[in-house]
């Protein structure tokens, strides 16, 4: 059930200018979850003294990953972030790829609740964690009496 929707979401992400600007790559997608990674780049550094990537770039990765996870929900045709809280647990090691994993842990008709973590090569110690609420935009209702 991964395959069709996964391919559609992959194609959509390739059209997303900001995901391209950060060279994001989908590692896995489907079943209410997604994993997306991004390389370390000098232009993304937030602290020039250490070369550590800016928290904002990590947020962008986690937001994208969470949104992609929501898009795998059956019937979802669009999503937008309502609220996102990011905890920065430690500086990401400069030069290493950052990988985000997101899971929709609860989905209602209009809202998806998502958790995400970000890691570098040391996968046992997350760099950041996030929780968010996302809108779930659904296609035309299957029955005419269905109300929004």
């Amino acid at each position: 059930m991964d395959d069709d929707r996964g391919a559609t979401i992959r194609a959509a992400m390739e059209q997303m200018p900001h995901a391209r600007a950060l060279s994001m790559r989908i590692e896995a997608i489907g079943g209410g979850a997604a994993s997306i990674s991004m390389p370390w780049e000098a232009c993304l550094v937030g602290d020039p003294a250490t070369g550590v990537i800016h928290g904002g770039a990590v947020s962008a990765l986690m937001d994208t990953c969470a949104g992609a996870a929501v898009m795998t929900v059956p019937g979802a045709v669009g999503t937008a972030t309502l609220d996102l809280r990011i905890d920065y647990m430690r500086p990401a090691t400069p030069g290493q790829r950052i990988r985000a994993r997101a899971v929709c842990y609860h989905v209602t008709r209009h809202v998806a609740f998502v958790r995400a973590t970000a890691t570098d090569d040391d996968e046992g110690r997350p760099v950041a964690a996030a929780t968010g609420a996302f809108t779930v935009e659904r296609g035309p209702a299957p029955t005419p009496e269905a109300t929004p």
Partner: protein
Amino acid sequence: MTRPPRRPEPVQVVKERRDAALRALVEGVPYIGFLGIRFDRRGDELTAILPFDEKLIGNPLLPALHGGVTAAFLEVAAIIELAWTLLWEEMERGRIDPAAPDMLRALRLPRTIDLTVDYLRPGLPRDAYARARVNRSGRRYASVHVEAWQDNRARLFAQGTGHFLMPDPG
């Protein structure tokens, strides 16, 4: 014995010093340049400006700013406001001379502990602005609130609160 009253510094000298300090703070961070964020200064008040660019788009169909860009913009505005508040005090007391680049490099940026972003409406494909307010600034921790808008100051498109770990003194 009383000294003769000192003449106030010429306004241009004061402005130049403050602008140099702000420039050094902002230009030191590559990611701020990557997003294209600039800062406008009126006295000690800062406004962050995010000029629209194609690469900031998240949803090309609407089109709308990427939610991650909005989060990053709020975080940059908050952290620079906090660093600027610290820098301003040091500068006004004459403890930091922005003309000496080493002094500014020694001023480390606060580190983000967490950031909560409230997305109020889609970010439109046009310039965005943000202002941050330091609600609490202690020796070790700070809490900063930040608001972002586009065409209309009263219609925020996002707001956020972040907690920050202060840089070690000295």
